[in-house]
Amino acid sequence: MTDDELLTPKPTTANESLKAELLARTEGRLRFDRRMRFVGRVGICAFCFVAGLGVAFLRPVPEPTILYVQAPPVADAPGSRSDAPTNGPVPRVVLSPAELELEAEKTPVKAESARRFREAGDLYLSYYADYKAALRCYRNFLDDADPADLRITPDDTWLLTSLKRAREQESAQ
C-alpha cells in the first residue's frame, strides 16, 4: 500500500452511544466537582465557626479586677433624721474638704492645722479627683507638719508620697 493510502482516514460510522455516554460521564464529573467545591466552602465556614467558638470558650479568662470605691462622706442635712436626738453615741460631724481646708487655715495649732490640711488633701484626691486642690493642701500640710510626719508611710497617697520624696531630695541637696 502507498503512504497516501495508509495515511488517508477510512470512512467509519460515528459511535453515537459513546458520544452520549461520554457526555453524561463528563457532566457527572462537572457536577461532582461543583458539589465538592460547595462542600469545601461549607467546610471552611464550619471550621471558622467552630474555631471561633473554640477561641471564645477555651481562651483564658483574665481575673476580674475588683475596684473598691469608698463612698464620699456626705454631711447630713440639718433637720434630717440623723440630727434627731438618739440614745447612742454622738455622731462625728463630717466636713467637706473645702471646710476642712478652711478649718485648717483658721487653726492656730500647727500640728492640728497640718492634720486637717492632710485630711482635706486626701479627700480632694480620693473622692473629687481635684489634683490642684489636693496639691495645695498637701503643700500646706508639709509646711506645717512635724519632721516625723515628713517620712513616707504606707498610708500616704501617691501624690503625697511624691511630694514627700521631692522634699527629701530638696533637703538632701
Binding site: L7, P9, T12, T26, L30
Partner: protein
C-alpha cells in the same frame, strides 16, 4: 486577543464554575473533530479510538482549569491530550504483546480482518512515533485535506518548505511503519 481566545476563555471559566450548558455546547462542537482526529491517529481502529476518546474527554474535563486559550485552541489542547493517551495505549499494548506469545497452531489461521487490524495497529504505532512537527503536517494534509498552499499559509512557511517537510514526514512514517 482574538475572538477565539475570548470565547474559549469564557467557556472555560463557565465550565470550571460548573456550568453544564456551557460544557454541553463545547462538547457538541468539539466531539466530531476530535473523533475524526483520534480515528485517524488510531488507524481507524474503532475500539482503540473509543478507549482513547473516553480517556481524552475525562482527562479534559478533569483538567479544564489548566487549559489556556492564549496558548492554543481547545481543539489543539484536546488533540494534545489524545496524542498522549494514544502513546500510553501503544506502550501498554507493546508490553502486553511482549508477554503473550502466539501459539503455534494459530500462526496459520490469519484472516483478512486480522490483517486489516494488524495494519491499522501498525499505522497507529507509526503515527505515535512521529515527531510532533511531522504529525501536524500529515494531519493537515490527510485528515483535514488542506492544500500545500493552505498549510504553508497556516505554518508561515513557503510551499516548497512544506512540500519538503511533507516528504520527510512521509519517509519517517514509512520507516516507522515498516515494509508492507
Amino acid at each position: 486577543m482574538t475572538d477565539r481566545v475570548w470565547r474559549e476563555r469564557g467557556l472555560r471559566d463557565a465550565v470550571a464554575a460548573g456550568d453544564d450548558a456551557a460544557w454541553r455546547a463545547w462538547y457538541e462542537a468539539e466531539y466530531a473533530p476530535l473523533e475524526a482526529y483520534v480515528l485517524w491517529r488510531c488507524g481507524s481502529l474503532r475500539d482503540l479510538a473509543d478507549d482513547v476518546l473516553q480517556d481524552t474527554w475525562l482527562t479534559a474535563v478533569r483538567r479544564i482549569r489548566r487549559f489556556d486559550p492564549a496558548a492554543g485552541s481547545f481543539h489543539g489542547w484536546l488533540c494534545g491530550i489524545a496524542g498522549n493517551v494514544i502513546r500510553n495505549h501503544q506502550r501498554s499494548r507493546r508490553r502486553r504483546s511482549a508477554r503473550q506469545e502466539p501459539l503455534n497452531g494459530e500462526l496459520g489461521r490469519v484472516d483478512a480482518g486480522a490483517i486489516d487490524r494488524e495494519r491499522s495497529e501498525r499505522i497507529a504505532a507509526a503515527l505515535a512515533q512521529l515527531p510532533e512537527r511531522y504529525e501536524t503536517v500529515l494531519r493537515m494534509k490527510y485528515l483535514e485535506r488542506r492544500t500545500v498552499a493552505e498549510i504553508a499559509n497556516e505554518c508561515g512557511e513557503t510551499e516548497k518548505a512544506i512540500e519538503s517537510l511533507l516528504s520527510r514526514a512521509r519517509s519517517a512514517f514509512r520507516e516507522a511503519y515498516g515494509d508492507d
